[in-house]
């Protein structure tokens, strides 16, 4: 049982990884997930978070089998 964690764009390059799994049998705080997986890195300010592809706040709990994503401000579109 695990949580899937994904990183995108500049954050993916900064961490040099795009996806990993955190083994857990219980729900975890988002901050806890980050700290366990990136113990020597501060979560950059302005980082956006999504659970199961929906935006969440940093205080949301991550359930077992959830997909948690961290990414920088989005810049799509054009013009």
């Amino acid at each position: 049982m695990s949580i899937t964690v994904r990183y995108f764009a500049s954050l993916r390059e900064f961490l040099n990884k795009s996806e990993e799994k955190l083994e857990t049998t219980t729900a975890l705080e988002i901050k806890e997930v980050w700290t366990q997986l990136n113990p020597d890195k501060v979560l950059p300010e302005n980082t956006l978070m999504a659970i199961n592809m929906a935006y969440v706040d940093a205080d949301q709990k991550v359930q077992v089998n959830d997909e948690l994503a961290f990414f920088p401000p989005v810049t799509g579109g054009g013009g």
Partner: protein, 148 residues
Amino acid sequence: MKIKITETALNPWQEIENYQANKSELSGKFGATNIFIGTMRDFNDGDEVTSMTLEHYSGMTEKQLATIIEKTQQNYAILDVLLIHRVGLLLPNQPIVLIAIWAVHRGDAFDACREIMEALKSSTPFWKKENLTEGSRWVTKNSKGYQT
């Protein structure tokens, strides 16, 4: 309604014409079409940009776009939406995004197109990396949309 994310170069005129031609239920019913096309420039922040790489969060992108369109449909009386966004490697002068709105009336078409475009830019997980004549850089924020 159609949402498409594509790695293939986009011909907006062809896409709109085909989409509209296949929507026989729209024929004679719409009075207003508003279309926005965002196109890659060969300059940004005073630097020459030679190409651009567009990354996205596949799955969340489509979900977020559907949510945006659904919300806009609650705010404005619109008949149909076509939204196409490029990902992958883009060259200057290539379209990045196409949004087309069909409505009975012009105000609904204009406002819905604008609302979807602003929501897309502020909340859909796309990221641009610009390749310059020397090196590359991530775009870190959106322009406000006006010449300063």
